[in-house]
């Protein structure tokens, strides 16, 4: 732990009340984030991965203090910011910035690009008049926009350019930590690489620290040093990216990695595809103990009784931790694994109809699909 810890989250919990009617609030809550702890060190890129609804965006919004926490603490440079009111955040609002997912929604359509990128300067009273314009145009150049487009409206730019505007706004004040909330998932595949490379280049230039949120493992792999894999509001596995990709321990991690498209069709055909049963359960009443047990091919009765801790498993390095009682060993096949849970505790896939067997079930046909 040589580099300085920039942000530390301890046991962050965020529950949203479920509103059943206008008048009454039911006691049920959505367990969006349920006890997540993490550390982000100076200069690294931490990838936050998980499928839609697993709480990664909520966690990011809690870290940026756009949302109040239900419990837990968030420290930024050693200061607890989790209970501060928005007005008391001051300096932290400069040092921590966000890049948003939707380049169409995150720019005010009625304001000019110069005003949008100039916002951070205006809000923190740093530069105005000609000086502000100069610095805004500097930022525009930095992110690869034409500074002469200062007076244009967001509608006059393409998706990729708009995301560059968002990047320029986030980086205008030279923040220490940038939280990127799916910054490329709304973009064309052809433009993704451009924006990703821009982010990586800027990180080197400005020595930034990134939290990189994505549901796309191939994107995260490209940029992050460390990975946190979330499932239903909890971290199920985390570690150095290289480590985690090489030795995924959690059955969920294995399933996700097996779904990443491979460019080589032969390798893709050889690879074992793990198809999980069912859908993500409701975060209103998440499964007890290990939240993955109803869908897990390796589940045992213990998984529904004792919550597994995040620990190094199977001789992994200390920073590669997995919350699983029965981690997957290297080379272990999950296809033959059979959950030993009683039927009422797990998701049972309905008997596959003949067509679905053809598509999902056999390796041969998936090979064909990959080749076509």
């Amino acid at each position: 732990m040589s580099p300085e810890v920039l942000l530390r989250a301890v046991d962050v919990v965020k529950h949203f009340p479920v509103q059943s009617s206008q008048l009454r609030r039911s006691r049920e809550v959505v367990h969006a984030v349920d006890g997540v702890s993490l550390e982000i060190r100076q200069g690294e890129t931490v990838g936050l991965v998980g499928e839609t609804g697993c709480g990664k965006s909520t966690l990011a919004r809690c870290m940026a203090r756009l949302q109040d926490l239900t419990s837990g603490t968030i420290e930024f440079e050693g200061e607890d910011i989790s209970r501060r009111k928005p007005r008391q955040l001051g300096r932290i609002r400069r040092d921590m910035q966000m890049i948003f997912q939707d380049p169409y929604g995150s720019l005010n359509p009625k304001r000019r690009v110069g005003a949008i990128i100039g916002d951070p300067f205006a809000i923190h009273d740093i530069a105005d008049g000609k000086e502000r314009k100069r610095r805004v145009q500097e930022m525009m150049e930095l992110v690869g926009l034409n500074p002469e487009h200062y007076n244009r409206f967001p509608a006059e730019f393409s998706g990729g350019q708009r995301q560059r505007i968002g990047v320029a706004r986030a980086l205008a004040l030279k923040p220490k930590l940038v939280i990127c909330d799916e910054p490329v998932s709304a973009l064309d595949v052809s433009i993704r690489a451009q924006v990703l490379n821009l982010l990586v280049d800027l990180q080197k230039q400005l020595s930034l620290t990134y939290v990189f949120i994505s549901h796309d493992l191939s994107v995260v792999r490209h940029v992050s040093d460390r990975l946190l894999l979330m499932y239903l509001g909890k971290v199920v596995e985390s570690g150095q990216s290289r480590d985690l990709y090489a030795h995924p321990r959690h059955p969920y991690a294995n399933a996700l990695l097996s779904a990443v498209p491979l460019p080589d069709p032969r390798k893709a055909a050889e690879r074992e595809k793990i198809v999980l049963a069912g859908d993500v359960p409701s975060p209103i009443r998440p499964p007890v103990a290990c939240r993955f047990h109803p869908r897990c091919p390796k589940a045992q009765p213990r998984c529904a009784e004792v919550e597994p801790l995040l620990e190094p498993r199977l001789g992994d390095p200390v920073d590669h931790v997995t919350a699983c009682h029965f981690p997957v060993a290297d080379g272990e096949s999950l296809r033959s694994a059979q959950s030993s849970l009683p039927d009422d505790l797990r998701v049972i896939e309905p008997e596959p109809t003949p067509e679905t067997v053809d598509v999902v079930g056999s390796v041969g046909s998936s090979e064909e699909a990959d080749k076509s």
């Binding site: 910035q97 939707d102 929604g105 005010n108 009625k110 304001r111 809000i123 706004r169």
Partner: protein, 317 residues
């Protein structure tokens, strides 16, 4: 490009270049420029705008009417303006639009009355819109208790009978210009607030509002810098449509004797004074009414035109 088939290609190419040039011109235009281009094509709106400019000029140069005719606005011409029975004189070379029951020149009084109507119309409307916009922004953005309080206040104001309230308010104060404006403002804001609140509710969920919050923008900055520009078109349209309503309200109050006290020239008051005499002196009723009608109609049509120009997608109400 050597075979004959190349000819159409080069034509197409030329067209493409032409299109690009056109596209370049369009690109440089702002929302307002586009709206102005649409507005200019709307003949009714342009005529209405012309009529309003005329009314404004009449109001500004009201003293010119007085000096040209030689009739002061409150001067009573008992010799020339009234006939032997003490009745008003019909329109003639001396009194272009006739005279009223006290022998005053109706043309001059209409010109001066335009000042009151326009002044109240514009000032009271701006007051109404300003109060409504601020409260609507607050209700929509803050939500919670602020929203509940403002929403109940809106319900309360909208359920009060306007005229009864105006009568009782004027009876405790003195009738006058200020009280007319205040009464209209106090009653009008609720509708504006409701419209603005609805808009804000949808806008505040946008990601760019969250972006502004993550930059550390204060609530007021978000409301006025980020949200207000997005409700401005609706606000402008509503303002132009509210002006004629306000002018009619002012005339109504003056007609009932709750507005501008005599002898100040005012359209509503003139219509009220003509009540007993209109069978003998039609011009006394017709000309002030026509002035009111033409002005409000022009503002309404202008408002429609502005709405169509600013928001082409919006359906006609």
């Amino acid at each position: 490009m050597t075979n004959p088939g190349a000819l159409p290609t080069s034509e197409v190419l030329g067209e493409a270049i032409g299109d690009e040039a056109v596209a370049h011109v369009i690109e440089g235009r702002s929302t307002w420029q586009l709206a102005w281009a649409r507005f200019r094509k709307d003949r009714i709106a342009m005529v209405s705008a012309g009529v309003i400019v005329l009314v404004v000029l009449v109001a500004i140069f009201a003293p010119v009417f007085a000096s040209l005719t030689g009739h002061g606005v409150n001067e009573q011409f008992r010799q020339t303006g009234l006939n032997a029975y003490g009745l008003p004189e019909p329109p003639s070379g001396r009194f272009l639009l006739g005279s009223d029951d006290l022998g005053r020149d109706i043309l001059v009084r209409i010109a001066y009355g335009a000042r009151i109507s326009l002044f109240v119309g514009v000032v009271a409307t701006l007051l109404t819109v300003a109060i409504g916009a601020v409260l609507g922004l607050m209700a929509g953005y803050f939500g919670g208790i602020v929203d509940s309080v403002i929403a109940r206040l809106v319900d309360l104001v909208l359920s009060l009978p306007f005229l009864l309230f105006a009568i009782s308010l004027v009876s405790v104060t003195q009738p006058g210009l200020t009280i007319v404006i205040v009464v209209i403002g106090v009653f009008g804001w609720a509708a504006v607030a409701r419209i603005v609140r609805g808009q804000v509710l949808s806008i505040r969920e946008k990601e760019y509002i969250e972006a502004a919050r993550s930059l550390g923008a204060s609530a007021w900055r978000i409301m006025f810098v980020d949200i207000l520009p997005n409700v401005l078109t609706q606000l402008i349209v509503y303002t132009t449509l509210l002006i004629p309503i306000t002018i009619v309200l002012e005339a109504t109050l003056s007609y009932l004797g709750l507005g501008i006290p005599p002898p100040t020239a005012d359209w509503g008051q003139m219509i009220a004074e003509s009540q007993n005499l209109y069978q003998q002196a039609w011009w006394f009723l017709v000309f002030p009414s026509a002035a009111l009608l033409i002005t409000t109609l022009a503002f309404n049509l202008l408002g429609d035109g502005i709405r169509d120009a600013l928001d082409p997608g919006l359906a006609r109400l």
